[in-house]
Subunit: 341 residues, 2 copies
């Protein structure tokens, strides 16, 4: 039978309350007493029963998710996954709130983070816009003792406890190798469609992509990046235009959202052209395009995994517990038409 607080109390010759005090590092225990209890804990190999503790405390974890108010399938999916987590709240003792802030707007994000500092939730998850002010606001939360997890796009250099998202440099590199290998030594131009160079994840994907292309596929020439602001209309316009003007394009890498527009442009302008296309994020649109051959491969991050992982990590940090690193690693999913979920 595993030891309980009673066993420790007996072994240390103190009462339950005192054991509880040292266990939860509360003040009001003489140094020697504390030592005695700590020794007993170590000797008996005590591990606290978190479930019982939570029951006694009636603990719930108020968590806040801050998302950009972007109208694209990926963000809708992320939102849906959080709502699914909300539906499980009772069993998981969470109390989750979703807050939307204008996209690509650091100041709005900062304001929200400052309000949260007052609310003192058990944890905060945010899709970070990469700006110094945001970093400062996040650091402030962390210093106040509130666990913070970045979601989808990281905030390197900040004190955030954890990043729940894919390695975007690796994603870009993978896209490059896939595209290069699929094109098998052909010579030509590659168009690149991004959302915005203001968000870190897109910048990193581009960086990884360009690096591998330059190093391993010199026969392929990268055109300058098209910024579609993750908006299907803008993306459509940009791609249609590029295809019309440039006959040498043989490959496209779409590293942001708004792929609806890309796909429409391809179906209108490129039915008769041999084009190899790699895109990010599995949505209803990209899935259909992969199946009908318009897209050759999709790189994806599992939004459900990201949300569940963020919640697990925030709860663990709130309790000072450790996590299973391998379980929290968000992998880069590669989908061909054969291994779709």
């Amino acid at each position: 039978m595993r030891p309980t607080v009673h066993d420790i109390a007996a072994a240390a010759g103190v009462s339950l309350a005192t054991v509880d005090r040292v266990l939860n590092q509360r003040p009001g225990v003489r140094h020697v007493t504390r030592e005695k209890v700590e020794t007993a804990i170590r000797d008996l190999g005590y591990v606290r029963d978190v479930a019982a503790a939570n029951l006694a405390k009636g603990r719930v974890y108020p968590l806040t998710f801050i998302l950009p108010a972007s109208d694209n399938s990926f963000m809708h999916g992320l939102n849906a996954e959080i709502r699914a987590a909300i539906a499980r709240s009772v069993a998981e003792r969470t109390d989750i709130r979703i807050v939307e802030v204008p996209a690509f707007d650091p100041q709005a994000l900062v304001r929200e983070l400052e309000m949260l500092a007052a609310e003192k939730p058990s944890g905060v998850a945010l899709v970070a816009t990469d700006a110094p002010d945001v970093r400062a606001a996040v650091d402030r939360l962390v210093k106040d003792g509130i666990p913070v997890v970045t979601l989808v796009s990281d905030l390197t250099g900040s004190l955030r406890h954890h990043y729940a998202g894919v390695d975007n440099i690796a994603a870009g590199r993978t896209a490059a190798r896939l595209l290069g290998r699929f094109l098998g030594g052909a010579k030509g131009e590659i168009a690149i469609l991004a959302g915005s160079m203001l968000v870190r994840d897109h910048r990193e994907r581009l960086e990884g992509f360009a690096a591998v292309m330059a190093q391993e596929f010199p026969a392929l020439h990268l055109l300058s990046v098209l910024e579609g602001r993750d908006d299907p209309e803008v993306a459509h316009m940009l791609i249609a235009d590029a295809l019309a003007k440039n006959d040498g394009i043989i490959g496209i890498y779409s590293l942001g959202a708004g792929n609806r527009g890309l796909i429409r442009a391809l179906k209108e302008k490129a039915v008769d052209r041999a084009l190899t296309v790699i895109a990010h994020e599995l949505t209803a649109h990209t899935r259909a395009a992969l199946l009908d051959g318009t897209i050759d491969a999709i790189l994806n991050q599992d939004a459900g995994h990201e949300v569940r992982s963020a919640i697990r990590v925030l709860k663990a940090k709130a309790d000072g517990l450790s996590v299973i690193d391998a379980q929290e690693r968000i992998r880069l999913d590669i989908f061909l038409k054969d291994n779709l979920p």
Copy 2:
């Protein structure tokens, strides 16, 4: 505040014990009383607090994992992941035991399953050898009310509750498309190295691979399957021999284990040949080979995820709870040298 058993008891005008009886469908309750309680449960929207229930019961979940005693990196990895889960046993209220049985030996597996029927653990996970007797033994366990999960290799047609492993037909198809695209229209022969056609996962991979190859890459001709019994020595011999005898081989698909031997053969016999190679399972050996260019892509199943998933599912089934399907889906990981974990 969410309703508790007390609230139900009050609402139904009965005692806690009676509420508990209907909650756990125990006998000794008049029909009318039962109805009253059930109405109260529904009206108040009661959901049982599983953590509290487990505390009161002092519940632990004795689980048994049955693995083939195969000496390859993948099985070693699987074993290690189970041991990692054992290390977490205290917190997760599990009591996990690993049993090894001779590989590819249905009768040994059946004997073990029959012994388990007597022990009545909370759940059983097994790497299934595909045979009618095994199916019958599994069905027997299920009918006895013991949750059963197949791991890595499934047992279709049996009553097992869940399969924690990848879709191997999809894996084979994906391997074919990757190989075909990487070879970009070249014409030549493809060597296939399997472990044994007696295990379902290998048969399914081959099936998927052959289907896509026949349909989409007619210029590539599949040689007859080499069975390496997941043994590095045998694999080495078979591949070295094939390469020596056949100059037309331009691609290799290794769908089983024992890749150490394959890699050694490639380094000895094929340094001067342009060979595209796809293999299964990420191990220290295949990882190194991917990085140095000997292998072009690795298809993988995350053993850690499989083990954690099997445990979650077995616990849930033992309690009659539902699982999050997306969380329990084991995906096919595709690794290029750029996205290694």
